[in-house]
Symmetry: C2
Subunit: 216 residues, 2 copies
C-alpha cells in the first residue's frame, strides 16, 4: 500500500475539516463490511452530501481515486487521518475535572483523534490526587511549569466560564499552543495561539431555532 501523502495538498477550509471525520466514520463501516473501494457517490449518499463536494474534500487530503472504482478505503482513511494529524498524538493537559471534564478524561476515543491527555488540573483540593481513567488530577498551581517542562502543546478547558480566561492565561504562560475550550466565553489570546471552541450551546441554539421554525 503506497501512500503519496507529501503531495501538494490544497488549502483546507474549516467546513472541509469538519466533514473529514464523518468520512472516516463511513469508511470504517464500509471496511468492516469487507468493501475495499468507496466512490464519492457512496460516501455522499451515506451522509446526505453532494458527491462533488466529497471529491473536493478528499482531493484536499492528497489521496487519488481510481476511475470506475473510487478510493481505496485503507489509503483514504490513512490520508484523512494524516490530514487531521490524527496519525500522531499530541500531549494535552485538561483543566477542570468536573462533570464534563471527567467525561472527556474517560473518553478513550480521543486518543484516536490525536489527543493524549496526560494530566488534569484542579483548584479544588478534594479533587487533587484523584485518578480518572489513569490520568492523575494535579493542583492547578503546577500547570504552567509542567506544561513548559513537558512541552505540552494542547490545553483543554472545562472550568466554569468565569475561570476560563485565567486558566487560558496560565496555559499560554506554560507555552501551550492550542486550546480546546468548553467554557462559554470568548478567550482573549495572542495571535500565535489557536483556540477551538466546543460550545454546546451554539449547537443547541441551532436546534431550538430550527425546531421553533418547523413548528410554526
Amino acid at each position: 500500500m503506497e501512500m503519496v501523502l507529501e503531495k501538494q495538498v490544497k488549502a483546507l477550509s474549516e467546513r472541509t475539516l469538519r466533514r473529514l471525520p464523518r468520512y472516516i466514520e463511513i469508511l470504517k463501516r464500509l471496511k468492516s463490511e469487507k468493501i475495499e473501494f468507496a466512490s464519492s457517490n457512496m460516501i455522499a449518499d451515506e451522509l446526505g452530501l453532494d458527491s462533488i463536494q466529497v471529491r473536493k474534500d478528499l482531493a484536499a487530503t492528497g489521496v487519488i481515486g481510481k476511475p470506475k472504482l473510487g478510493f481505496a478505503i485503507d489509503e483514504l482513511i490513512f490520508g484523512i487521518k494524516h490530514t487531521l494529524n490524527w496519525d500522531n498524538q499530541t500531549d494535552a493537559f485538561l483543566v477542570g475535572a468536573g462533570s464534563l471534564g471527567s467525561a472527556i478524561l474517560g473518553y478513550k476515543t480521543f486518543s484516536d483523534h490525536g489527543l493524549n491527555i496526560i494530566a488534569a488540573f484542579e483548584n479544588e483540593p478534594s479533587k487533587v490526587g484523584e485518578i480518572i481513567n489513569h490520568i492523575t488530577v494535579l493542583p492547578i498551581e503546577k500547570l504552567s511549569d509542567m506544561a513548559y517542562r513537558m512541552k505540552v502543546h494542547i490545553g483543554v478547558i472545562t472550568v466554569p466560564a468565569d475561570e476560563a480566561q485565567k486558566v487560558a492565561d496560565m496555559m499560554i504562560e506554560g507555552g501551550i499552543k492550542a486550546i480546546w475550550n468548553f467554557a462559554p466565553v470568548h478567550l482573549k489570546v495572542p495571535d500565535f495561539v489557536i483556540v477551538e471552541n466546543a460550545q454546546l450551546s451554539h449547537s443547541l441554539g441551532v436546534l431550538t431555532h430550527k425546531l421553533a421554525e418547523s413548528l410554526k
Copy 2:
C-alpha cells in the same frame, strides 16, 4: 420596554445562528457592568468579529438599533433569545445516562437555552432508578410511549455509536421532532425530523489540523 419582535425577520443562516449565543455572552457581561447600550463595534471588538457582520446578524433578530448609541442591551438579549427560541423551554428526553449523558443532565444552564430535560432512559438495569439532578433514569422500553403521551419534542442521544440509530428510531416513533446527537454516527431520519450533531471530534479535528499546520 417595547419589543417589536413579530417584525418580519430575515432568513437566518446557520453561521448567524451559531454566533447569536456569543452575542448574548458579551451583552450579559456589559449589562453586569451597568452599560445600557452596545454598539455593533463594541460587540465585534469583544469577539474579534467584523462590526458589519454583527449588525447583519442582529438585523436578523428584528431588533432595531439607535444611531449614535447602538442597541439597547436588554432588548437585544431578549430579541436574540427569542430568535433562538430560548425564551421558551421545550421538554426533552435524554437517552444514555453514561458519563457524557450525566454531565449534560447535571448542567443547569441548558434550561436557559430552551432545553428542559424531564427524563433520562437507559438499557442498563443498574442505572434505571437513579436520579441525576432531579431527573429520573427510566428503562429504555418506555421511551417511545412516554414521548408520545407527554408530547416531548426533543431527544438527546448520548449512547454509544452503534446504539444511536436504534435510539433515534425509537424517538421518532414516539413523535420526537428534533434530535441532539452526541454519538459519532450519521443518523438516518425522515425529512421532518431535525438532527443537530454535537460531535466533539469534528471540533477536535479542526484543532489538531491547525496545530500541526502552525508547527510546520
